[in-house]
Amino acid sequence: MNFILVTAIWCPSCIIMRPRYLELLKKSNYPIKELDFDDDSDEVDKLNIGSTLPVLIIKKDNLEIGRIIGEKSIKELEGIFYDKGIF
């Protein structure tokens, strides 16, 4: 399993969510790739991100199995991660 986290430095929700994601996903030991919405636009454009950030893309065997968009509480994230088998 691996993750792609798309954030932008001008996005308050991203600033809130980035440490939450990094802290939670540290426990999982799965690799996480961070992309900046503006600086990495070549790669981001291929991911069909839309304009609500942040976006966490969850991949298993290189196939996307889900994505989490926008702000979520730690409790909500833990629930989603448990459902997806990440924890």
């Binding site: 932008a8 430095i9 001008w10 308050p12 600033i15 809130i16 440490p19 304009s51 609500t52």
Partner: protein, 367 residues
């Protein structure tokens, strides 16, 4: 043209334009030149700087760095001051302009801890909680809270924040005054950094400032040797610099808060003729900014329809047009539908009730 987008930019006053032309003719030459032309320009800039600080009721404890505008000034606060002084904790709020949020976001990627102050249902920052956040951290802290939010117009209790900062020696306070100067009176004395853009108060684009307490130092962001300041290289545009005070004097004389409040109340009453709307601006908002959601309608469609017939409003800050929703409205309401359908009508002492009537009549064609 009917212009209700004063928070995006104001139309330069004629006096500013005339004086700007005059300065180009009266003061040819380069600020940095050692000869008489350069010396005259230096003297004029020095006088203007001192006058600007007095106009904003600031003491001689302050200095002013002229910049290209609030965005550059805000970047100085974070990438110039916070980095140089090894600030590891920044507290801000969810209503800041992207030129404040972005450098903070950049610093977060360098390991700086960032927290957002909590607020009530009207967007007013909880000062007790803010002080608790400060008490819970031992190192130096930079707080960045603007007096007025650009999208909804929410006015923060800057005096209350100043009192908290006074009680804590390890806290520095920055306020982005871009939406406040020329609209409401704020006592800026005691704040470490005040940033602004001249084009928000009937001046020209391309000039603004970072007002800072003289005790503070920061990295220069534009290198090339000392010029107008050791913090910023490059030949200063002295006609632009000199025009700032003309704009500030103009707005301080002409701004009529009570009249703008009257316009706001008239506008709100007329907006109530529409069904299925939310007025996002509230009792904490300044009258110059009215944010309203027309539910079920895309805000950009409304803006474009009106602009096609010569009426100008906006949907969110011009600098965050890469999102399709208002970040400020979303932060306040957590309602994406409300955020994507919100528009900002920004009022000025130059507007009239007749213009509001025309706006409403034309909105009724599409809403």
């Amino acid at each position: 043209m009917i212009y209700f987008d004063h928070s995006a930019t104001t139309i330069p006053s004629k006096i500013v334009l005339d004086k700007y032309t005059e300065y180009n003719i009266l003061y040819p030459g380069n600020f940095n030149s050692p000869h008489k032309l350069g010396k005259i320009i230096k003297e004029e800039v020095k006088k203007n700087k001192e006058e600007l600080l007095k106009l904003l009721l600031l003491s001689d404890k302050y200095d002013l760095l002229y910049t290209s505008g609030a965005t550059e000034s805000n970047n100085y606060v974070f990438l110039g001051f916070a980095l140089k002084n090894n600030i590891k904790y920044i507290i801000t709020d969810s209503f800041e302009h992207s030129s404040v949020v972005a450098p903070i976001g950049a610093l977060q990627k360098e390991g700086v801890k960032v927290d957002f102050a909590s607020f009530d249902n009207n967007g007013l920052i909880d000062l007790n909680n803010l002080e608790k956040m400060i008490n819970d951290y031992e190192g130096n802290i930079l707080i960045s809270i603007s007096p007025v939010n650009s999208e909804i117009g929410i006015k923060q209790d800057i005096d209350g924040i100043k009192e908290i900062v006074k009680r804590h020696q390890n806290v520095y306070f920055h306020t982005d005054a871009t939406q406040a100067i020329g609209k409401i009176n704020i006592d800026y004395e005691g704040i470490d950094f005040i940033t602004f853009s001249c084009h928000k108060f009937y001046g020209l684009k391309g000039i603004g400032g970072l007002i800072y307490h003289k005790n503070l130092t920061f990295n220069s962001l534009i290198k090339g040797g000392e010029s107008l300041s050791k913090f910023r290289s490059g030949t200063p545009c002295h006609p632009l610099i000199l025009s700032v005070n003309d704009a500030l004097r103009y707005v301080l004389v002409n701004n009529d808060y009570d009249y703008v409040m009257e316009l706001k109340e008239y506008l709100i009453n007329r907006l109530k003729e529409f069904k299925n709307i939310y007025i996002n601006s509230n009792k904490n908002s300044i009258p110059h900014i009215v944010n309203v959601s027309f539910m079920g309608h895309n805000s950009l469609d409304i803006v474009n329809y009106l602009s096609d017939i010569g009426i100008y409003i906006s949907n969110h800050t011009a600098c965050s047009s890469n999102t399709n929703y208002s970040i400020g409205v979303y932060a306040l309401t957590k309602d994406m539908k409300r955020s994507t359908s919100s528009v900002r009508i920004s009022l000025s002492f130059l507007n009239t009730k007749e213009e509001i009537d025309i706006l409403i009549d034309n909105l009724k064609e599409i809403i």
